[in-house]
């Protein structure tokens, strides 16, 4: 079995570009096993390396995905293997799409995205511009601003909830307000004005601004100094004019990547919402993004896995459409000139 191919392989190894020798003709057709293994057993190695990942992806991503689409057509309370008589067709989709709480959660999430994406973008760009101008201690400030990225969302949320923004007089925010004679505010429990947004948005800003700052710094360092020199020669004033006409346009590729990542991250918002606002008895009806709502529907005491799956499918479709539209709009993958 190895005779002919062994020789052929030897030939391939010795003479680069001699792969044509394996082609049927001179040495005869290689056996099926040999063909499956491929030249230099490349197929074998391909599957040895890719196989475990592919199996994991199939088992833990695609099978559950397909299963949840299947479940979404059933009245699957407390079961993942519903019987035929529990088939309800599109009922779950209909009730999800007329469910005020679910539609409200989509609105919440839109509001969150509209706010958090520009805010993080502006903050991390500003940080990058400042750090980039530093003449000394640049590495220090880069690290300091990047450090929060290493903190987990859960830990940060707990610190925000219990020590900075707790509602009693000895919370950090209330202590500071107390110096100016203001009353204590229950940050996470008040809906009018909706102070909870301040808590949710600041925790995410603190956690992720440093990471995007690093991306912007890399982008800034790629801009050729000649451009700035040429602009100066042409009479561009340093500051806003240079930023507007040189720096910002040159950061286009970085900006596209940053905005895409930010939007995807906002889509996946769960950790800080859940840890800031949930308690043993459930989750309040405000600031409830779709993932949190579906988590309670499908995996909470409800165990309404059919309805939850229908919601997940709807959400997945929305995310897919949004991503495609966004990629088109930004011209993602288009060649840069």
């Amino acid at each position: 079995m190895t005779g002919v191919t062994g020789a052929a392989e030897g030939a391939v190894k010795d003479v680069p570009g001699a792969r044509a020798a394996v082609v049927p003709g001179g040495f005869g057709r290689p056996s099926l096993g040999a063909r499956l293994l491929g030249p230099q057993r490349r197929n074998l190695w391909f599957w040895a390396f890719v196989g475990p990942f592919a199996i994991g992806l199939g088992l833990f991503t695609y099978v559950p995905l397909v299963w949840s689409v299947y479940l979404s057509f059933f009245d699957a309370h407390n079961t993942v293997s519903p019987t035929g008589e529990e088939f309800v067709g599109l009922d779950n989709y209909a009730s999800m799409l007329t469910d005020d709480a679910f539609l409200g959660s989509l609105g919440t999430f839109l509001l969150f995205t509209v706010f958090i994406v520009p805010a993080t973008y502006a903050l991390s760009l500003a940080l990058a511009l400042m750090v980039n101008r530093l003449r000394f201690a640049q590495a220090f400030f880069r690290s300091v601003f990047f450090l929060p990225t290493a903190c987990s969302y859960v830990v940060a949320a707990v610190i925000w909830k219990l020590s900075i923004f707790n509602g009693v007089r000895f919370g950090l925010a209330n202590t500071v307000l107390g110096w100016f004679g203001a009353d204590q505010t229950a940050w996470l429990s008040t809906t009018d004005p909706p102070w909870y947004w301040l808590v949710i948005v600041t925790v995410r800003l603190w956690l992720q601004a440093g990471f995007y700052m690093i991306l912007f710094l890399a982008g800034l360092q790629r801009i050729s100094p000649q451009l700035y020199e040429a602009a100066a020669v042409d009479g561009a004033r340093p500051g806003w004019q240079t930023f507007r006409h040189i720096t910002f346009p040159q950061l286009r590729a970085t900006s596209v990547a940053v905005v895409l990542l930010l939007v995807i991250n906002a889509f996946q918002a769960f950790d800080e919402f859940y840890n800031l606002l949930s308690d043993a008895r459930g989750y309040p009806p405000y600031a409830r993004p779709p993932l949190v709502y579906l988590y309670y529907t499908a995996l909470g005491r409800d165990q309404n896995l059919g309805l939850g799956s229908a919601g997940a499918v709807i959400l997945a479709l929305i995310i897919a459409v949004a991503t495609v539209v966004q990629a088109r709009w930004f011209g993602l993958g288009r060649k840069e000139d």
Binding site: N78, P285, R301, Q303
Partner: protein
């Protein structure tokens, strides 16, 4: 400058990974030692906060001589863990559950325990036994009774010239008078009472969640009027919100952040230790002409999984522990935390429940206790809590909010009756 060299970092990383792998291995251990082929019964409990409970339940299990029982102590989100485990064969044989819920019974996840409980059925507290019964059959054995009640600080009320409130209007007034720059009048949980109150104000108004006729019990103008008064508490800024601990923990009350707090009976020993005699207990005060005081009672039930491969043994064990061995039931209820035994005969015998605030609490539970009915499903509860949150915090119109909940509850009643 190097600080940690690369080798040490890798070694540390490896250690962390190994620890994580170990933790995962523990997490998936179902206590059956070979994927369900062992001869033993596995029993699950949620993690009780009181010291000694774990040792006690293991001691009871070890005393059972007909089969070997392995007890699993499950920290974390217990409801969710059991819900997930009941979908598979790897779940427990016997487990305690905050239910069983109607969907679990209808979904065939738990087995009928009527024959086990029947001989002593009348000795169980009927309020907590009722939600374990569906279509005449008993699906869970009540373990101990938990209840909630209102704690108040006698000295603070006296200083403010306030009498212990007997009606909801008096409670609203008292909370307002007791609120100072440093402390609030009343603590109903960090969400303003949305989560913990549930049907309590409705019962205080003489209504119910699901009536005895099987219909929605709060389709009544009185419901909107009562919930409007809870909104008043919030609007007056009399409620403590955003405390470091929630309603279930007496810390806010003991630290003087609030003059009154709604909490559980389990908090009583801790409060007594900290405040001595400077506190009293009340039921949720009545509201309106048809109103009556109300306290919520409930019991974790011991249930047997329908997926169990040893159903007969598991049922026999559940009966042995929660029906036959009254000395263990008494020990479990009173030696660690503070609960009322689910058996009337045991509750009568308990010395700890005969004096002071504890005796008052037991009286409230007997006279004014209500349990959430089995027909009040999780979907109903979510809809009701959402409405309550909008009424209390946003000042939404209680009537229209309640109409939405009534509609939802009617739809749910339709759904569960079809099965």
């Amino acid at each position: 400058m190097t600080g940690i060299d690369r080798r040490r970092l890798l070694a540390a990383g490896g250690g962390v990974a190994a620890a994580a792998a170990l933790a995962t291995a523990c997490g998936s251990n179902t206590g059956r030692g070979g994927g369900g082929s062992g001869p033993g019964i596995s029993q699950w409990y949620h993690q009780y906060g009181e010291p000694g409970v774990e040792r006690a339940v293991k001691r009871y299990a070890a005393a059972y001589d007909k089969a070997s029982v392995s007890v699993q102590w499950r920290p974390g989100d217990y409801d969710r863990q059991t819900a997930a485990a009941l979908l598979t064969d790897a779940g427990p044989d016997v487990f305690e559950v905050n239910g069983p819920l109607l969907d679990q019974i209808q979904g065939g996840q738990v087995v009928d325990l009527t024959a086990e409980v029947e001989p002593v059925k009348d000795d169980f507290n009927q309020a907590v036994l009722a939600p374990k019964i569906w279509q005449g059959k008993i699906w869970g054995i009540p373990q101990v009774i938990d209840m909630q009640l209102l704690y108040y600080r006698k000295s603070l009320l006296k200083d403010a010239g306030v009498e212990p409130p007997q009606t909801l209007d008096e409670l609203v007034d008292a909370a307002k008078k007791l609120t100072t720059k440093k402390a609030k009048g009343l603590f109903l949980g960090n969400d303003g009472g949305v989560g913990v109150l549930g049907g309590t104000p409705l019962f205080a108004a003489g209504l119910s969640l699901i009536g005895e006729d099987g219909k929605v019990g709060f389709d009544d103008p009185a419901a909107a009027r009562t919930l409007g008064k809870i909104r008043q508490l919030y609007a007056d800024k009399s409620l403590l919100l955003g405390a470091p601990t929630d309603w279930s923990d007496p810390a806010a009350f003991i630290q003087g952040l609030t003059a009154m707090q709604w909490s559980g009976l389990w908090a009583l020993p801790q409060i007594k230790k900290a405040l001595g005699d400077d506190f009293g207990v009340l039921p949720f005060p009545k509201d309106g002409a048809g109103g009556k005081p109300s306290v919520p009672v409930g019991a974790y039930g011991s249930a047997v999984s329908a997926r169990s491969k040893r159903k007969a043994e598991a049922k026999a064990y559940a009966k042995w522990l929660w029906v036959d061995r009254t000395e263990y039931q008494q020990d479990f209820a009173l030696s660690y935390g503070f609960h009322i035994p689910a058996r009337i005969s045991l509750a009568k015998k308990a010395k700890e429940l005969r004096e002071g605030a504890a005796a008052d609490a037991v009286r409230f539970a007997t006279d004014h206790g209500y349990a959430e009915p089995l027909l009040w499903t999780t979907a109903d509860r979510t809809a009701y809590q959402d409405a309550l949150s909008r009424i209390i915090k946003d000042g939404a119109n209680p009537e229209s909010e309640l109409k939405t909940v009534v509609r939802k509850a009617n739809a749910e009643l339709e759904r569960v009756k079809k099965k």
